[in-house]
Symmetry: C2
Subunit: 460 residues, 2 copies
């Protein structure tokens, strides 16, 4: 073995899996703006939140000061069954691109949920169980989050009710069956099981559902059934906290290898993966200990960072959830029908929004055919069939590596490969058949979304 | 950390991935019987084989004496992208079963092909490339082997033509799209692209195809196109040789942990996984260095070991392939339509057949609803959604662990978890819906298969 040889895959030892999550808010000078009660326009209190979320999670949601939270032993034990995830050197991609750049990726897809979502699902299920709850409710679109939550609930012995957008329920029966195998109760949304579902079905009998509607149903079931709480897989501060395990592991592995990344890249929908991956590195930057370029990659068809407004907005299309200050396209914005995969949320984590607003991060928007071109190249060379979401990060990593080829710079690139595309083959088929299209919303389209932003005192 | 603590997952270091394959034939007193030319009834010569298979693979196929084959550096390099695979301690399963048994499994499913098949696909694609060939042809049923071969061909830069049983092509479009994403040319079989395909379509216009027919088409294309050879993912001696990497890694990891298994369990269809997993352990047993119980687990609906005959038979239903001496249900045997997943080959590796015949191995047949019950329990507790094939081994491992609970024996069980069930959700849905059924062929059914065994001089 050569000196300073870096293996293809670096795994931490089991006892090196992080025992604490890192809360990047503690190191932010400008804290993320608080969630507001849509009725009063006042910051949501812990009491108001605890009807919807578990108590410990409410504490985590509201805590902008504690830098490290101990990961409960039971969660550590569960993490051992699917973590550590590997840090992979993309030697074959580097060779194919003929770039002097060194490319690493942190791969979170080697578990049955197929993505990083299990990191937070574990925590949320555990705290619900610890609080003595019977179960949790949630919504799922493509099914990644619902699958992760089903797995965590099966492990911790908790009832799991998933409201799955009807069109996905019907078009993605396999995701549904994975959840059912893990014992989850999966209901196509809108459904007859909730008031809001019945109302929507009455108004729009033929509707195929939406994420906004599924959220509303899941929240209704949580608040109207004793012993249930609602859980969410992205956007929230608590989710970024749990997902920091990705960045902490990546940081530890890179340290072992003696490697310092120059550029850190992640795809961005609601921000769970990007926030988790970059948090500890961002902490170093915020504390002035190191500098990194951070790049958020979003779909050109849902460009909240690059073309959205930094404003208070509803987190859901149904306007029943709290207001969050974030980069948003407006709560009524829905990505065009040709958009494949996730990263379709109209807003963005308030933490990441604040960091972007304060200039700590860059963002790029990429079109989906170029994303799938990157996905195919990556799959053939590196072996892993990536999720469409993750492939946004691949696209940007390849683009940065190609810039290095031009300039001759030997930059070290780290990107997050959040998951696998085994349940996204319909989109791959479109790409293989040459029928996949791109879509960039016009300024007029976006203006409609912005016009629907709520009026909040003090907001521009 | 406790003394003698065994982590959940044990990974070898990259430089500990085996650099040689182990050929168990070298340690067998009774060698596996040679393949026979169906026309002459004489052992197939290297020359006869080389029209169909690559030269190096022919050498490996015929070599009963060389114990170790160097793994070419290029294959070692490719192995680094998806190996080592983890050896996992099933702590949660042990706890759920309340058994004193210690359960380990070697998990081969963490790669995009979703199974161990990639170990041999790598080797076969590499040798084809090295020989200067343009491409390879093969057949695939459920698609596991076809996917693995597509990946290996994409990596080594080789054309890949896959004949996929038409019913699978139509019912498993996602497997097909993975292969297409890796650049493979996937044709539903029977097709108009071959003489035999056209003939079958003319005779049976509405046929949905069979593995036997797909083999015939793939072989025809290989022998009639210069620069092409045919490759096969199981049954052959060369395949068991390549798959020995599973057992060698498992052996090395167990040695590191200071653990000696008492029972080694693998599912058995054509024998690629079982043979690969047990080979090095069987070598120890054959050389009198250690003793192990080996258990082959097969579907009750396709019980070649437990109810088949040890006889020369055709390897394909079309009777164009060589004759192999093996445990067989007859080349015309087709598992009943309710059989889910793989393990549907009528015969068995000649190596494993000889070892079983000589009393070195046991075999059990299990029914599929009990297999899926084990799969569901395993998925919920251990997190991994297993392939139906792999779940046969889980069933037997659980049964052995429950026996230990009765007797109080602290046996150490190792089983092979060959792959994941992400493309087998139709079967899981049947199980979840309670519509899955069992089938055990009657003695009369089997008698029909035995009646069709070919007449070979010297055969009982």
């Amino acid at each position: 073995m050569k000196e300073n040889y870096i293996p293809y895959k670096t795994y931490l030892e089991e006892n090196e899996i992080p025992k604490q999550w890192y809360n990047v808010r503690a190191d932010m000078k400008n804290k993320p703006a608080p969630l507001l009660n849509p009725g009063t326009g006042q910051p949501l209190t812990a009491e108001e939140m605890s009807g919807i979320f578990c108590e410990e999670l409410v504490k985590q949601e509201l805590d902008n000061d504690t830098a490290y939270f101990d990961i409960p032993e039971e969660i550590q034990e569960y993490y051992k069954t699917f973590r550590p995830s590997p840090l992979i050197r993309a030697y074959n991609l580097e060779k194919a691109l003929d770039t002097p750049a060194k490319i690493y990726f942190k791969f979170e897809g080697n578990n049955t949920s197929g993505s990083h979502k299990l990191n937070s699902a574990s925590a949320q299920a555990y705290y619900a169980k610890k609080q003595g709850l019977k179960g949790v409710t949630t919504e799922t679109g493509a099914g990644q989050w619902g699958t992760a939550l089903s797995m965590a609930c099966a492990y911790f012995g908790l009832d799991c009710k998933v409201y799955m957008v009807k069109v996905s329920y019907e078009q993605k029966p396999f995701r549904r069956e994975v959840m059912r195998t893990y014992g989850a109760d999966v209901t196509p949304s809108p459904s007859n099981t909730t008031n809001i579902g019945r109302k929507i079905l009455e108004e729009f009998p033929g509707t195929t559902g939406s994420l906004g509607c599924a959220i509303s149903e899941a929240v209704e079931v949580a608040v109207s059934n004793p012993g249930y709480r609602y859980v969410l897989g992205s956007v929230l501060n608590q989710v970024l906290l749990h997902q920091s395990v990705i960045g902490l592991e990546a940081q530890a592995a890179l340290k072992k290898l003696g490697v310092k990344p120059d550029i850190i890249i992640g795809c961005a929908g609601g921000g769970s993966n990007l926030g988790g991956l970059i948090s500890p590195f961002m902490g170093e930057k915020l504390r002035g200990e190191a500098d990194y370029r951070f790049i958020a990659v979003e779909p050109a068809s849902c460009p909240s960072f690059t073309r959205g407004k930094f404003a208070y907005d509803f987190c859901d299309t149904g306007k029943i959830c709290p207001l969050a200050k974030m980069y948003t396209l407006g709560s009524q914005f829905i990505p065009s029908a040709n958009h494949a995969g996730g990263l379709r949320f109209h807003g963005m984590s308030t933490i990441l929004s604040q960091l972007y607003h304060d200039g700590y991060m860059e963002a790029v928007a990429v079109e989906q055919t170029s994303v799938f071109q990157a996905a195919e190249q990556f799959a053939r060379i590196e072996g892993i069939l990536p999720a469409p979401e993750s492939s946004h990060a691949i696209r940007a990593a390849i683009d940065e590596a190609l810039k290095c080829k031009e300039t001759g710079e030997e930059k070290t690139i780290l990107f997050g490969l959040t998951g696998t595309g085994y349940f996204d083959l319909v989109a791959y088929q479109q790409y293989n058949d040459g029928t996949m299209t791109d879509y960039i919303p016009s300024d007029e389209d976006l203006a409609k979304g912005f016009a629907a932003l709520p009026e909040v005192p003090g907001q521009d």
